[in-house]
Amino acid sequence: MSKEIRLANVYKSFGPDPVLDGIDLTVAPGEFVAVIGPSGCGKSTMFDLAAGLIRPDSGEISIGGEPAAAGTHCGYLPQRDLLFPWRTVLANTSLGLELQGVPKRVARDRAHSLFARFGLAGFESARPAQLSGGMRQRAALLRTVLPGREVLLLDEPFGALDALTRTDIHTWLQQMWVTYRWTVLLITHDVREAVFLADRVVVLSRRPARVTGVVEVALPRPRTVTTLTTPMFAAVERDLLGRIEWSRNDPDPISSTE
Amino acid sequence: TDQPQDKTTIRFALDWMPNTNHSGLYVALRQGWFADAGLDVQVVPYGQTAPDNLMDSGNAEFGISFQSSSVFAQAAGAKVVSVLAPLQHRATAIGVRADRADLVSPKSLDGKTYAGFGDAGEVEVLRQIIRNDGGTGDFRNVTLGTSAFAMVYSDQADFTVPYLTWEGIEAQLNGTPFKYFQFSDYGIPDEYAVVIDASRAWLADNPDAARKFVQVLQRGYQLAADDPAKAAQDLIDSNPDSFDDPALVTTSQNLLAAEYMKDADGKVGNQTLARWTDYSRLLYQHGLLADGEGQPLTREPDWSTYFTDAYLANP
């Protein structure tokens, strides 16, 4: 039921400067892949391409074997949360379901059942402007995940969350993923997050982005708090950090994990 | 057959807000004479569209016009014809404020401001009058439509062409009288101040109804000439919120009845070729008439085709 995401030799530039410089990446059906790359390298651009929202200059992109097109139905969480001011928080979170044709009452009930888990309880009828930054991000994530698309594209969904709220949602997301086996592509700046959640982590270079490394994460599922303390976790993390080659360009690097 | 026929509907277009020039129409309406004749007469109120244009385009069957307007329309090919002349004489004149000591004759209007109506020929005729009085005929022509009279009261303009029998009386009653320079005193032939025009096409298709209508209307105007007080009352009653001061209507109707409506025989409505010719020819000679393509007429029209008495009651 899940679909493969495939980018083959994809080039893209805005104006004269290239942004994506020949990206090759295949995410198998039901696989969870994290993408790590320096800020401004082209990660969001890659997602826009995969979602069919913009076209590559050359190369091929397909979702489930079909060329990515505007109508490609995937759960896309853009980097800016984009909640709609004319909908309450509850109505924003149920939007994806409603667009799938789920009756409004049912859609809202389903969204509502996750409000406590997402720390949004009590804000059902608030307007988005009344939410904190992290709450907005959680509401947007809930809206994205709820329709259960076969393909999820998550662009830094956890950036504005504190470590514990984040962990809580990690756990929930993993649980859902184990159950439904969506194909997930996740952008993050947090190496531990990537290792904790993903089957594979893809490392991109500075702009123009190329794939400079791929790290397999063979940790057993479900991963829990104890997984983090295993030597294998530490090994994968170290391997990954080693591949973040762009660190070498830095004038005064302070690695945040060594 | 004996079957009651459907009433013929006739739309009658007005040239202006209801006034004593329309008294015959309202008398006939008020007395129920049109209904008696099997006619359903609907009054088309005054608007931005000239009655001749409404008749020509099939939006009215009859309407109020003036001799000059009718001539312009017919020269340009409008399918209308004059069927009745409620007023036998010109009822307008050059009007200036009575307290304007500097304006003593048309000559003194040179360089002054005329508050006009945008009518075809009005400027040419006024210029002729001034020249006939020894002036140059150069004046400022401002086109104002309905505000012309107020512009003269408020001193924004110097002269206009009011109806002696309406604006003239109104001005007097309100204490700001006009004084006048009569066209006929400066070599302009007399004309019918008001005529009733009809759609030629409709006349051809409905000769009987046309005759009935024109004769009932003629009867209305005859009553207005014979019993102005009653006509004034009918006019006021037919237009309840139009007249603030009944004196305006009665004074006006009395004046019309006494001096304008009846011909030498005391009859109302007849038209003569001589009257039609004199003034219309002046317009032609000034090169003011143009055909449907906008080309100035090069041959004088046969004025006898511009009006007809065929629908009037036999004199």
């Binding site: 826009d48 979602a51 069919g52 929202l53 505007a70 109508g71 490609t72 139905h73 995937c74 759960g75 896309y76 853009p78 800016r80 984009l82 709609f84 001011p85 004319w86 909908r87 939007l95 994806g96 409603e98 667009l99 799938q100 307007r127 329709p147 698309r149 594209l153 | 739309r11 202006w16 807000m17 209801p18 006034n19 009054v43 088309v44 109120p45 005054y46 608007g47 931005q48 569209t49 244009n53 409404l54 385009s57 939006n59 309905t146 505000s147 009279f149 107020a150 009261y153 408020s154 109104e170 309100n174 700001t176 237009n239 309840p240 919120d241 139009s242 007249f243 603030d244 001061d245 305006l248």
Partner: protein, 259 residues
């Protein structure tokens, strides 16, 4: 909070009062003829005295306004929606729309009567012609102003073109639509009066024309006053409409006004 509401109205009422009082003083001291410029008190007094005459005319005007504005609104929605779904329609129709507004209505009105006769039709058409443009343009620009990101998001969620329209473009256009509605409604009564000027049996336009004819400038202005009041009522109604169809925008405006 009714008291604070009322307090907000004070400056407006004061400004209006100032205008009327200066006018009254000018008329009284300058001794200008009431036929040229009647005093406000005279307008009120005479207007009240003739209320029995004015009321039926006002009613006729309201009818023309209502029918014309309803037509205008429906047409604007249909056209803007069509234009939104079919970009070539937008490119074809919007210029026509603009052209329609460049026609001097005063020259066209008499022609409309020649073409469409003398009934309700040309009047309703005139009201529609006058109010249609701002509403349609407001809607079209409102739809088009939907953020690109938002559209992209909707597409990625598999929203059909219709769903995009219904759930994104329509709500996003509401604030502009409300502004446009306010402008359009302001022209509606005025346009109806105008249409009556071009020929009608009843209506405030006819009444004004008649009073002007007999130099009752005071009654002309009394009818003008009635027109104003009708328009102001419609204008106020747009705020109620806004609170219904775009409560979030109304709330935002209120907050920003508090600033």
């Amino acid at each position: 909070m009714p008291t604070s509401r009322i307090r907000e109205l004070i400056p407006a009422v004061a400004a209006l009062a100032l205008v009327f009082v200066s006018w009254q003083i000018y008329v009284v001291t300058s001794g200008v003829s009431p036929r040229v410029l009647p005093s406000p008190s005279r307008i009120l007094e005479q207007g009240w005295a003739h209320r029995g005459d004015i009321a039926p005319h006002a009613l006729a005007t309201v009818e023309v306004t209502a029918v014309g504005f309803a037509l205008s609104l429906s047409a604007a929605w249909i056209l803007a929606t069509t234009a939104d779904f079919l970009p070539w329609m937008r490119r074809a129709l919007v210029p026509l729309l603009v052209v329609s507004q460049t026609l001097p209505i005063i020259a066209v009105a008499p022609l409309m009567i020649i073409w469409f006769g003398i009934g309700l039709l040309p009047k309703v058409l005139l009201v529609a012609l006058a109010t249609f443009f701002p509403i349609a343009v407001g809607l079209i620009e409102g739809f088009a102003a939907t953020g690109r990101d938002a559209t992209a998001l909707f597409r990625s969620m598999g929203a059909s073109r219709w769903q995009q329209f219904r759930y994104l473009r329509v709500p996003a256009a509401m604030p502009r639509f409300c502004t446009a509605l306010r402008i359009g409604v302001t022209y509606a009564v005025v346009a109806a009066v105008f249409a009556e000027y071009a020929g009608a049996e009843h209506g405030l336009g006819v009444y004004m024309l008649r009073q002007k004819q007999i130099f009752r400038t005071d009654l002309v202005l009394a009818a003008v006053l009635v027109t104003s009041v009708l328009t102001l009522l419609l204008y106020a109604a747009t705020y109620l409409v806004e609170r219904l169809i775009a409560p979030w925008a109304a709330a935002d405006r209120a907050r920003s006004a508090q600033r």
